[in-house]
């Protein structure tokens, strides 16, 4: 039995994210979730993958303005998380396969988690 408290978080850079996710997908990992945290340097995005109950997390830290590559081309189900991050934080994605353009969550103020925008 794995140690429940063990949280494996591997840092990645924006340029290697796409190939890394692609490798994991080939390996049979499934996307568990993606979430964003507002930190002083910009955004910290965690992508979690699972294979046979083993969890693997990729952590990407990017400056606020940077556009990152969408992973919907690899796992389509990521559209939910990417649209959520786009609406709530204002993270910018390139080549999203399903882009709601900010209408996924309708909120009273734009990007409530990142009010400076």
């Amino acid at each position: 039995m794995e140690d429940l408290r063990e949280t494996v978080i591997i840092p990645v850079t924006a340029s290697e994210l796409y190939s890394k996710v692609s490798d994991l997908n080939e390996d049979g990992y499934r996307l568990v979730q993606a979430c964003c945290t507002k930190v002083s340097e910009g955004f910290e995005i965690i992508y979690s993958f699972d294979k046979e109950h083993e969890l693997l997390n990729l952590k990407l830290t990017i400056p606020e303005e940077e556009e990152i590559m969408s992973i919907t081309g690899i796992t389509w189900s990521a559209f939910i998380y990417e649209n959520e991050m786009q609406d709530l934080f204002g993270v910018k994605f390139k080549h999203m396969s399903l882009n709601y353009g900010g209408h996924f969550f309708k909120v009273s103020q734009p990007t409530p988690w990142n009010p400076k925008n």
Binding site: F105, K106, V107, S108, Q109, P112
Partner: protein
Amino acid sequence: MSYVTKSPWLIHYDGSSCNGCDIEVLACLTPMYDVERFGIINTGNPKHADIFLITGAINEQNKAVVKQIYEQMPEPKVVIAVGICATSGGIFKECYNIMGGTDTVIPVDVYVPGCAARPEAIIDGVVKGLGVLAKKKEAMEKGLPIDTAKGKEKEEA
């Protein structure tokens, strides 16, 4: 309740509740509590409904939906806010996307607080709402304007 000549039907909409009140509303319909003995039927069509039962607080996105359902309902009608979120916003009041209780968009006749509101309290609230409905109906028959504010009663669970 002999003064109600038509069986009151209700429509239920989940504003932004946590489902706790919604499942209690449904539990009211089932054998344990059985509001159907009062002739109350849960309908999905606003035009068939006399009572609008709303759970959960109002947010930016469902504001228009709630308003539209209210406007589609024929007069006389009664609005019952079930649960503390529908009453005032409750625990979610401070959330960025919550505007407040149901009365921020439509007039409310009966408030049923509780988190989650118990089926007994919901039934009490609905029965109280029937009284308001009868008054409104009377006013309508006499050709008086229906003053929603006057029918306001507070239900304490």
